[in-house]
Symmetry: C2
Subunit: 333 residues, 2 copies
């Protein structure tokens, strides 16, 4: 068995760290469930990205560098031995809004090419496709339900919603065994700021902890729906492990998050790391970011995910503590 991870668009951004963490976690586990439900040994993990993954020494890891919108390359990395695909590649929200063609090419065309590579004769891998809060938008209820219509207000959201439809239809047709995991905004992401409209949701915690100033481009009342990187990785694997029969007529699952306002995030940072750290946040509103972020839901119903055994974080204080534990930021070392 060789689960392939086809990851990352370009440039190296939000998903790169998640992919490295996912690969490390899979190596640690050593097994994944196969389509028959039985535990299977992971023999090979292919890391496909536009920038080479670094730091892996495990012989099970194969690093492939290339364009995920290249059908020939996809046909080479996805083969009959591919039992699982984790598709995290994306042009993030802010960049997909600024460069429409690039967003369409990676978020839509590459996703479709990948699905087509997965449905070649003799293939039928389990495919985990990550989606986003950004598929929702417009007038929303306080808590979004599984039955709430999508109305994306960004090209990123529209492209993710299209990917969801494709994964569902390819699964219904029996071409793949897909599952769509709608992720809350990930915070606290390690690494550096990226072009996601939600980049600040990690930046306002991560940068101050590193002794660096961070700009918060939205109002303190803005409500976000958050998931920690640790929990996100566990959810990707748990979503993979679900049996298809449990999913019924929809392959899409809204993953549990925690609903916090930006003010509550900052209060949590102060509780965990002190008032001096919080002073490194500069408040400067950016209408382009605000418009996108305000269109996202602040919470959604988690009943389905929970009934499938998928959980979220306890509270944001513990999310910050886990970040400090994992990343050992400068200012609190």
């Amino acid at each position: 068995m060789s689960p392939h991870r086809c990851g990352r668009g370009r440039p190296k951004g939000g998903s790169s760290e998640s992919i490295d963490k996912l690969a490390s976690r899979l190596l640690e586990r050593g097994t994944l469930k196969g389509t028959d439900g039985g535990e299977q040994r992971i023999e090979r993990i292919v890391l496909l990205d536009v920038v080479p993954a670094e730091g892996f020494t495990d012989p099970r890891i194969e690093v492939v560098t290339g364009d995920i919108a290249d059908a020939t390359l996809l046909g080479r990395v996805v083969d009959r031995n591919t039992s699982s695909v984790f598709h995290l590649a994306a042009i993030v929200s802010g960049q997909a809004e600024a460069d429409f063609e690039l967003g369409m090419r990676i978020n839509l065309d590459a996703s479709r090419l990948l699905l087509d590579a997965c449905r070649a004769p003799g293939h039928r891998p389990r495919v985990v496709f990550t989606s986003s809060v950004a598929v929702y938008g417009g007038k929303l209820p306080e808590v979004v339900l599984d039955t709430t219509a999508l109305n994306p207000q960004s090209s990123y959201g529209a492209q993710k919603a299209i990917g969801e439809l494709l994964v569902n239809d390819y699964s219904r047709k029996g071409f793949i065994d897909g599952r769509v995991l709608r992720l809350p905004t990930i915070s606290v992401r390690p690494g550096r700021p990226n072009k996601a409209a939600s980049s600040f949701a990690s930046g306002i915690i991560r940068e101050p902890l590193n002794g660096i100033e961070a700009v918060c481009p939205v109002a303190a009342e803005t409500r976000l729906w958050l998931l920690s990187p640790r929990r996100a990785i566990e959810s990707l694997i748990a979503g993979h492990e679900l049996q298809a029969e449990a999913l019924g007529l929809s392959r899409t699952i809204n993953l549990p998050g925690i609903s916090v306002s930006v003010r509550e995030m900052v209060d949590a940072l102060q509780r965990v790391a002190g008032a001096d750290v919080v002073k490194r946040i500069r408040w400067e509103r950016d209408p382009a970011v605000e418009r996108i972020v305000a269109s996202w839901p602040g919470a959604w119903d988690t009943a389905r995910a929970k009934s499938l055994g998928l959980g979220g974080d306890a509270d944001f204080d513990s999310v910050i503590r886990a970040h400090i534990e994992d990343e050992k930021p400068a200012a609190v070392r």
Copy 2:
């Protein structure tokens, strides 16, 4: 001003008659609203189809025969003078289910190519895109709301839902001035049976009226959401005439229909045309058709359409009478 009608996939099927009727109605009207809201004279109507439109003698009509998935052709027929596009081309539900590639090519790729032709520099036509009951599916409320999530259970439905997302995002970006009209099942379609799963919804009325036997492949209790061809044409034009500001954050409108069971349709046929006509219906269930049709909603909320001034039919008896008036079928002449 030259409204272009880019129509019909292949083969000549369900939408061909609608396109001919739409063109005739537009010629009769002579004007359409422009993007500024003012009435503009229709100078030219381009009828693009894979089979040539026939029977038009009006000099304003230009018949173009070709493949709607041909970007070069689309670039030629959509130009700076194109103020309106009515996009009715589709591979119908039954055929898109049987031939996945063909459905993706016409329903998805061609739609996107057409939208891209419309957003070429200096263009920004009003685009009317027709969608369908088939975007809904799975567990549905008795009456579907505008806020009900899409969960298509056919490739046709998935492809239409993707088209909706594209038209909405292209409109939001200002590339086009789009509107998505979700049509109920059209009945009584003139012409011949096609490969739509809903073909019988016209066939069980049309064929008996022509003295021909028709097969009803679903149970009498099956509830359908219907719109007459006359009303459909009026709705396409009325949807075109709406000002963009009236549409808010969603370009998608569920058009009013009438909710009738197949038994009620047959009862109406008996009232209008007599018991002998009804005897020409043979009941023979077809699981492939039933599975698709049963996934569609039997009714949806019409409040938004009505507030925008879009109406439906009064009842199914009058729909049958209008069909007899327009088509003069053999058995009741």
